[in-house]
């Protein structure tokens, strides 16, 4: 291919006339940068979310009263164990703890550190923790965001929780959670289950909800019906429903962005069309000369389209790479606020790098296809330049 004279000439032309293309390349890179950044962020968020959901139990049940969740009796978990097809029944205790000012709340998660299944779910969060020393006294693991807030309020070593009974409970800050878990772990406090019960005001035999798995997907509907029939006041939620509602949310955000982006895109296409239609008399003479020297319309079209393709390709690489660096290395300052703004998170979030084929192909179709479509007709018009132009 490199031995091909045509490509030799193409690179020569591109290089010698680079100043002509620089404007288009800059605009393209900017547009691609914006587009890719947004798509990267949303696909990374979606990816982390899916990963989180993956380790969640397939079903969760809880007691409801007046449509609101209430403390769920622990005895229900035994009833679940009797249903054939259900595995990994795990009672869970968690809830939000509000600080005195009520301005800030964090998520308390109680973990039965001696239970295998619970371990698996939280494995990522508690990877490097010495459990034995952790359990010797009342202690907790906190996310980066929690630690910052507490330190700001002069609680460096421990914090005094106020239980619903009005007693103070001192809990030692044992360690912070690993930063890569920030998206979910940022506002979390992880502590032994009994301690969490006490702070959140659950009784001895009460839990927040009970999760369980159903390994065979064909049995999901059947089990769903069976469990719903156990009690009148039980609410059953399955993972797929949760996932769907999240998917809809992300789709909605991305979709609104893309629709706004279409306005930008049509402007871009218009600019391209005009830019490529504006042909210097000098350039017309050049094309006429090529034709006079034995180039066919087909050859000129090939040259011009490959020229366009090279520009598309160069911009594509530049735009995507800069967006990648911006999002995954610099954690997307500014754009992140737009995406996650209003949430209870500080700026310590890192996006997990995901570069899947689907995002890249979407970027290709929404950028390259309109680009080439916009210049196709102007390029053809140049290619049919009368070779007689060379004689004048």
């Amino acid at each position: 291919m490199l031995n091909n004279a045509f490509f030799h000439f193409l690179t020569l032309q591109l290089f010698k006339e680079r100043s002509k293309h620089i404007g288009i390349i800059i605009i393209s890179v900017l547009i691609l940068f914006l587009l890719s950044s947004v798509l990267f962020i949303s696909s990374s968020l979606r990816h982390s979310l899916n990963e989180t959901l993956q380790v969640q139990p397939d079903f969760v049940i809880s007691k409801v009263q007046g449509g609101e969740n209430r403390a769920t009796p622990l005895t229900w978990s035994n009833e679940l164990l009797n249903i054939y097809g259900i595995t990994h029944v795990s009672p869970r205790v968690y809830g939000r703890y509000f600080f005195k000012s009520k301005a800030k709340s964090f998520l308390i998660v109680g973990v039965d550190f001696l239970d295998e299944q619970a371990h698996k779910n939280l494995q990522k969060l508690i990877e490097n923790i010495d459990i034995k020393t952790f359990l010797t006294q009342n202690s907790m693991l906190v996310g980066e965001g929690v630690k910052e807030y507490l330190a700001h309020n002069f609680y460096d070593k421990s914090y005094n929780f106020l239980t619903p009974k009005g007693e103070f409970k001192t809990v030692k800050i044992f360690q912070t959670l690993p930063t890569k878990t920030n998206l979910i772990g940022n506002d979390m406090m992880i502590m032994p289950m009994d301690l969490a019960r006490e702070i959140l005001g659950y009784g001895e035999d009460e839990v927040t909800d009970i999760g369980f798995n159903v390994p065979n997907p064909d049995e999901w509907t059947m089990i769903n019906d069976k469990v719903s029939a156990l009690h009148y006041d039980v609410r059953v939620v399955n993972k797929k429903e949760v996932q769907q509602s999240y998917e809809h949310l992300y789709n909605y955000k991305g979709g609104v962005f893309l629709m706004l982006f279409l306005i930008l895109l049509s402007t871009f296409m218009l600019i391209l069309y005009q830019r490529y239609s504006m042909v210097h008399s000098n350039e017309r003479r050049h094309i006429g000369l090529l034709r006079a020297l034995g180039w066919s319309i087909h050859d000129v079209l090939k040259l011009k389209l490959l020229e366009t393709l090279s520009i598309v390709f160069i911009s594509f690489i530049l735009g995507v790479v800069t967006a990648y660096i911006y999002v995954f290395i610099f954690s997307a300052p500014l754009l992140k606020e737009l995406f996650l703004g209003g949430q209870n998170l500080t700026s310590t979030i890192k996006f997990t790098p995901v570069l899947d084929f689907s995002v890249l192909s979407s970027i290709f179709f929404i950028y390259a296809l309109p680009f080439i479509s916009a210049v196709l007709i102007p390029v053809w018009r140049v290619a049919i330049t009368d070779p007689k132009e060379a004689m004048l």
Binding site: N3, A292, G294, W295, D386, P387, K388
Partner: protein, 228 residues
């Protein structure tokens, strides 16, 4: 070799039409050197561009080695032009931003030859036109004579049988013009068919040209002058 029969060309502009070529008939044999002479506006350039298939006639026939060049699809006409016809233009028509070597290479690019074969042909042609010492120079930095020789090298690079020249000496001084005529003579000796359109009196009595064809208002004037 080149056969022109009943050739007409009329330019239509809104409601005025000008007939630029009026019933041209011409047979040019292989190896002949023809000089088309005529004042400005007599239709020489138009006739040459028809021969090269750059312009389409209004009616009539042009056959290049038996092929009707004006009625061929673009793909074939271009191929014929690339392989059989070398063009030298009035204003040299080089690509100013490319070097001499790159300029000369252009006609060979669509041929599908690889770069080594092309470079070989380019070198040969540069030698023939006596410009190889400047091959890396930018075309815009050349003198008029050097530009002309680059244009010659470009016309010769595909080893065509036919050389068409439109006012080749219009932008040259006397010395360079004479030099050009020398090169033409060499090409003539190589057996190329040559057509020169000019009103330069230097061409009036060149030794190797057997036919001078006077043109006037789009017709070939009777009484073709033959130097013998």
């Amino acid at each position: 070799m080149i056969q022109i029969e009943n050739l007409y060309k009329t330019f239509q502009h809104e409601n005025t039409s000008t007939t630029v070529l009026n019933n041209i008939n011409l047979h040019i044999q292989q190896g002949e050197c023809i000089i088309l002479k005529g004042v400005s506006g007599s239709g020489k350039t138009t006739l040459l561009s028809m021969m090269a298939g750059l312009d389409k006639p209004s009616s009539g026939k042009i056959l290049i080695e038996g092929e009707p060049i004006s009625k061929l699809p673009d793909l074939f006409a271009s191929q014929l032009r690339a392989k059989k016809i070398g063009m030298i233009f009035q204003h040299f028509n080089l690509f100013d931003h490319l070097s001499v070597r790159e300029n000369v290479m252009i006609p060979l690019i669509p041929s599908g030859l690889n770069i080594n074969e092309i470079n070989q042909k380019v070198t040969q042609s540069l030698n023939l036109a006596n410009i190889s010492h400047k091959k890396e120079a930018l075309a815009s930095h050349l003198s008029g004579g050097e530009k002309q020789r680059t244009a010659i090298a470009r016309a010769l690079v595909a080893n065509p049988n036919i050389i068409l020249c439109d006012e080749p000496t219009a932008n040259l001084d006397r010395t360079n013009s004479l030099l050009f005529i020398e090169i033409l003579k060499e090409l003539h000796n190589l057996g190329k068919t040559i057509v020169v359109a000019t009103h330069d009196p230097l061409f009036d009595n060149v030794s190797f040209s057997n036919t001078i064809i006077p043109m006037q208002e789009g017709t070939i004037v009777e009484g073709t002058v033959v130097n013998e």
